[in-house]
Symmetry: C2
């Protein structure tokens, strides 16, 4: 016993314990990164890229607009606008839209090249966004297949993001899931009961709610939230695949 | 005369006049786009790209950080961080920094591929930013060579952007140029005379002002603004190249 105490007091011993402990903790931290984390990172990145693409497309509409202002009127969708610029020249567009004179001046090769370079970058961002969506879908299919089947990849991932993890989402009552993402409206209601509570948060963008009549939306989102809650619970406890059944019940 | 009036009243005649006028106006608009416009567009795009690169690099630091958190501590510069990730693998980094254990877990090929895809996009944005800076330099050299020589491409373009055009910049008194970009501080001073007026706006980032002692900065920026004002006037009226002389005088 005395020997042991002596060993313990030796500085090398302490240091070894500390360094071993540190490595154990590092490994523990390493193993705490779960698939949830990547789903949340992926959906956050998609949100970021959305914002950036919008910002840069606005810039392109302004800059390319000096060269060919008429195009912005003819193509409203941002992504199509960007891709079309890379495909066709101004002359081809003018033939296509039956324009005789453009309000934009002729540009030197160098000026046009600078704009097109920017357009190419924006297109590349759009492609990157798509490939991350693709990756997100794969992740969701593996990790929370039921949730994915009921609401799709984007809405499912956003719910996960708001909840923080699949575990938290699975523990939430369906009424919370229903208003997830509408927190500001919910608290406005809680502070002042005269203001009605929100009927839907993130799940508003689900087609079942979106395409419903206005007075049916509350009911639809309640039903949808109930199914999401079941799906999340089954996913978390690695249950069977029941997404198809849930979806069928919803559509009825 | 009567014949002429008859012709004028014919609807085809009116329509022809209208359509001809329209085309003339379109051509006039086309020719109103000057080099100024492109300089301003280029510098705005560079600003945008700066913002985006920051945002995306923060995202990468978070996402890649789950895989290899130690790297963010070792490389502080954003651009180098991004470029290094593409050059080396985690194992190589760990050897380089003498790390035994990483707090990040091993990832599946697919997960890592998604992150690297994003990193590649960010790197591409950095390159795009550089090529637009290159383009801006060329533009400035052609269009306002004196201004470019005195303050460089980025500061010169920012002054142009704030002023709206080279014409406006050339008409400004040098005291206005001195505080261009510090409007909020200037108006704070004008509302409340107790607050001192700003000593410099955009031109603060010029090395002559930046590297001066604190109490010398006001003087330096006044001198610099005076030279900028001369340079802009000469550039606008397409005078000779006197940038070298102006710069020399400043450096004395």
């Amino acid at each position: 016993m005395d020997d042991f105490l002596k060993i313990r007091r030796r500085p090398e011993f302490r240091q070894e314990i500390i360094s071993n402990n540190l490595e154990i903790v590092k490994l523990a931290i390493a193993s705490s990164v779960s698939k949830d984390t990547f789903i949340i990172q992926a959906i956050s990145t998609i949100d970021d890229l959305d914002k950036l693409c919008n910002l840069l497309t606005r810039r392109v509409r302004e800059w390319y607009g000096y060269y060919f202002p008429e195009l912005s009127v003819h193509i409203e969708d941002d992504e199509i606008y960007i891709r079309q610029i890379l495909l066709k020249s101004k002359e081809e567009f003018m033939q296509e839209f039956n324009l005789k004179v453009s309000m934009g001046p002729k540009l030197e090769e160098k000026d046009l090249e600078a704009i097109i370079g920017l357009v190419r970058s924006v297109e590349q961002l759009y492609s990157e966004r798509e490939s991350i969506i693709h990756y997100l879908k794969e992740l969701m299919q593996e990790h929370c297949r039921n949730l994915y089947t009921v609401v799709g990849a984007l809405i499912g991932a956003k719910l996960l993001q708001k909840a923080g993890s699949l575990k938290h989402l699975s523990q939430m009552p369906s009424s919370t899931i229903q208003v997830l993402g509408a927190e500001s409206a919910l608290f406005r209601h809680l502070r002042n009961k005269k203001i009605r509570p929100p009927k839907h948060g993130i799940i508003l963008s689900h087609p079942l709610v979106m395409n419903a009549r206005r007075d049916m939306r509350g009911k639809r989102s309640r039903q949808l939230a109930a199914k999401i809650s079941i799906a999340a619970k089954v996913d978390y406890f690695k249950g069977e695949f029941i997404g198809d059944k849930l979806k069928e019940e919803l559509e009825k």
